[in-house]
């Protein structure tokens, strides 16, 4: 273990080597691919465990001239160790799950190569001790996410979703780049220790600008309003990928980034307020959108957005260890839910809730796993979600009551959508056409592991707080009771809503049905973004291409060429072949030259 503690870079290099190996030798690897791919995450777990009380650090000069240099380094502190554990455990579960889920896919080896590359990038992101390394991992996980969302590239929806996810997060990344430039100018370094240690010496405006820029990056990555639109579409990727990247790890990187650069946010109330407002809006808004979804993965996608909103709200009130606690428990139960839904999709051949029903009798293990995950998501004791969500709500209520109330409302909705989805999928009468079967052991085993985690991680709160060097929060029983009561009430509402296999929803009065549809479409925000940003940019691009580049600039160049040719033709007209007129011109020329010479000499 001590070796792992002193050599944490294995968490990056091992999976990179594995990815290269799988990419190059894919033909010979075949069915062994997942087992090889397990190496990276296992090392991540090892290093994470060994470094909970702090681990090694180091740095090299990456690029520079003389004294001015960008350095690239790593530092495994408690925060990084916790993240490594999250990444490692979820990755292992996902890889094992994928053995069965991806069986027979023609991109089998490619899939595991990409997953391996992703774990390398994610590990690099969390152990980076400077913004360059962090950004490197940050963008590479985005690239892996792009390639994995578009894994089934022939489906237009998947190809489109992959592009959209990369583009939207890149907007945030560009802001992050500017934030790095601001910090570079102010401090002359990108090393986190130096920047964060010297925050006090920086002008408040610089700190705020930098913090807001970094926050924008986090908002893009963590799919917070208004950059949340990519995550629901990202569900086009294979479901285990959704569990790993779009629920447990990459989307939580935004929360990690804010936690990592916390001193900046501590010194900037403005940036914290923005985080609080965006987080609260997202938590509540996404929870409402999750309610009417008919696609089981879309329910989970909006649920993820909503839960990340909870974490951002906690960050906004300064409770970053609490946000991180929720990140950890959320990673467990949301990965559990996603993998359960993957099992459901694998077993029933559909992801439409309306075509499911009564899966509990055919898929008992999956159903149990899902229900445990659902309870944790709703925050029902004694699951892990109960503890972390209670801390989030309590800390937000204390600092900003309006936001706390909004989060409580979101809790009600959380109970409602998870109960609705549960009843539609696992209870009532079977509505699917296909023969349903329970999944094989490689798929159910990860479910069990994650279920245990989702049940027990609540007790890990003090341990996480200690690793982060923060005080662990005591359970606030009053708020907990209220929150659980509200969530239970919401769950009952959602349960009733899902009666008769969803027919009750279809029998709504027309006005209400229209609103239901609008909410299901995410309040039409996607269309709005297309009309406000995507279309005008495309139109502007075509305008610049046609009117400015081809017509004006190249038109001028070509016009100049034509003008020269015309002038040539004009002058050629004087050359009429008559020697005497040439001589006349010559004579005139001589006289003019003589006159000029005489005039000059005079």
């Amino acid at each position: 273990m001590s070796v792992l503690r002193t050599l944490p870079l294995v968490v990056v290099f091992v999976p990179v080597v594995v990815a290269c190996l799988l990419a190059v030798g894919g033909r010979f690897v075949g069915r062994a691919a997942p087992w090889i791919a397990l190496a990276g995450p296992l090392f991540a777990i090892g290093v994470g465990t060994a470094s909970l009380d702090g681990g090694a650090s180091g740095a090299v000069r990456w690029l520079g001239v003389g004294e001015t240099a960008v350095r690239l380094g790593y530092h495994v502190d408690g925060l990084a160790a916790i993240m490594l554990l999250v990444v490692g455990v979820v990755s292992v579960c996902v890889i094992v799950f994928s053995i069965g889920y991806m069986r027979g896919d023609r991109g089998y080896v490619r899939y595991f190569a990409l997953i391996s590359l992703f774990t390398a990038a994610m590990a690099g992101l969390v152990i980076a001790s400077d913004l360059v390394g962090l950004f490197l991992g940050w963008e590479l996980v985005g690239a892996c996410s792009f390639l994995l969302i578009g894994f089934w590239y022939e489906r237009p929806e998947a190809a489109e979703a992959a592009r959209k996810a990369f583009m939207v997060t890149r907007v945030g990344d560009a802001a992050m780049l500017v934030g790095m430039a601001v910090l570079w100018r102010a401090t002359g370094t990108l090393e986190l220790d130096a920047i964060l240690g010297g925050v006090g010496a920086l002008a408040p405006s610089v700190v705020t600008v930098a913090a807001v820029c970094l926050l924008l990056g986090a908002v893009g990555k963590s799919a917070q309003f208004p950059l949340h639109i990519w995550l629901p579409d990202a569900m086009e990727g294979p479901t285990p990928v959704s569990a790993l990247i779009h629920a447990a790890t990459m989307v939580a990187a935004g929360v990690f980034l804010v936690a990592r650069t916390w001193p900046l946010f501590e010194a900037s109330p403005e940036a914290r307020l923005i985080a609080l407002v965006l987080g609260t809006v997202t938590a509540l808004g996404a929870a409402t959108i999750a309610l009417p979804q008919t696609d089981i993965k879309k329910v989970l996608a909006y649920s993820t957005i909503s839960q990340l909103g909870f974490m951002f709200a906690a960050l906004g009130v300064g409770a970053w260890p609490v946000a991180l606690f929720h990140l950890v428990t959320h990673a467990a139960f949301k990965a559990l839910l996603f993998l359960s839904s993957g099992s459901v999709i694998h077993g029933s051949g559909t992801q439409d809730l309306r075509e499911m029903g009564d899966l509990r009798s055919k898929m008992p293990i999956t159903a149990t796993a899902w229900i445990i995950g659902g309870l944790a998501l709703a925050g029902i004791p004694p699951t892990a979600g109960f503890f972390s969500k209670d801390e989030v709500v309590a800390s937000v209520l204390q600092a900003a009551p309006w936001a706390g109330v909004a989060l409580l409302a979101a809790s009600v909705l959380t109970g409602a959508y998870v109960a609705r989805a549960t009843r539609l999928a696992f209870f009532g009468t079977a509505r699917g056409a296909k023969e349903v079967h329970e999944s094989q052991w490689t798929m159910t085993l990860p479910l069990l592991v994650l279920a245990v985690a989702a049940l027990s991680l609540g007790l890990a709160g003090p341990m996480i707080a200690r690793a982060l060097g923060a005080e662990s929060e005591a359970l606030s029983l009053g708020i907990a009771a209220v929150a659980v009561g509200l969530a239970a009430a919401g769950a009952i509402g959602g349960w009733l809503l899902a009666a008769d296999g969803g027919r009750r929803e279809q029998a709504l009065p027309p006005a209400f049905a229209r609103m239901w549809g609008m909410v299901r479409n995410g309040y039409g925000f996607d269309t709005l973004a297309t009309n406000v940003a995507v279309r005008p940019i495309a139109k502007l691009a075509r305008f610049i291409d046609e009117a400015v580049d081809r017509a004006a600039i190249d038109g001028f160049v070509e016009g100049l060429a034509v003008a020269v040719r015309r002038a040539g033709a004009l002058l050629a007209g004087t050359m009429n072949g008559d020697g005497q007129s040439y001589t006349a011109l010559l004579a005139v020329g001589v006289i003019v030259l003589l006159a000029v010479t005489v005039w000059l000499v005079r």
Binding site: A572, N576, G577, D578, G579, Q580, T583, A587
Partner: protein, 96 residues
């Protein structure tokens, strides 16, 4: 001064002939008149400066050139006559 006026007059007459006459023989003759004008000027210049033989020398060179020019010009003329082109407006090979 007189020689200058004479020279200019000769060159002017010659130029007029070169530009207006359509007959190639006449054009050649006019060129000779222009050359004569130039020689007059050179000779008078030679008389006016102390350094001897410069103007005279050049005049002799111009005379020789004129003779050569006349010979080549006439040879070209003969060639053109063989192609039945003795008028300047019939020659269009130098068109741009």
């Amino acid at each position: 001064m007189t020689s200058l006026v004479l020279s200019c007059t000769l060159i002017g007459i010659g130029l007029y002939g070169v530009l207006t006459r359509r007959d190639l023989v006449a054009v050649l003759a006019s060129i000779e008149v222009m050359l004569g004008g130039a020689q007059v000027l050179l000779a008078s210049y030679a008389a006016g400066v102390s350094v001897p033989a410069v103007g005279e020398g050049i005049t002799v060179v111009v005379l020789a050139t004129g003779a050569a020019e006349a010979a080549i010009g006439l040879a070209l003329l003969v060639a053109l006559v063989r192609r039945n082109k003795t008028r300047t407006d019939q020659i269009e090979e130098v068109r741009g």
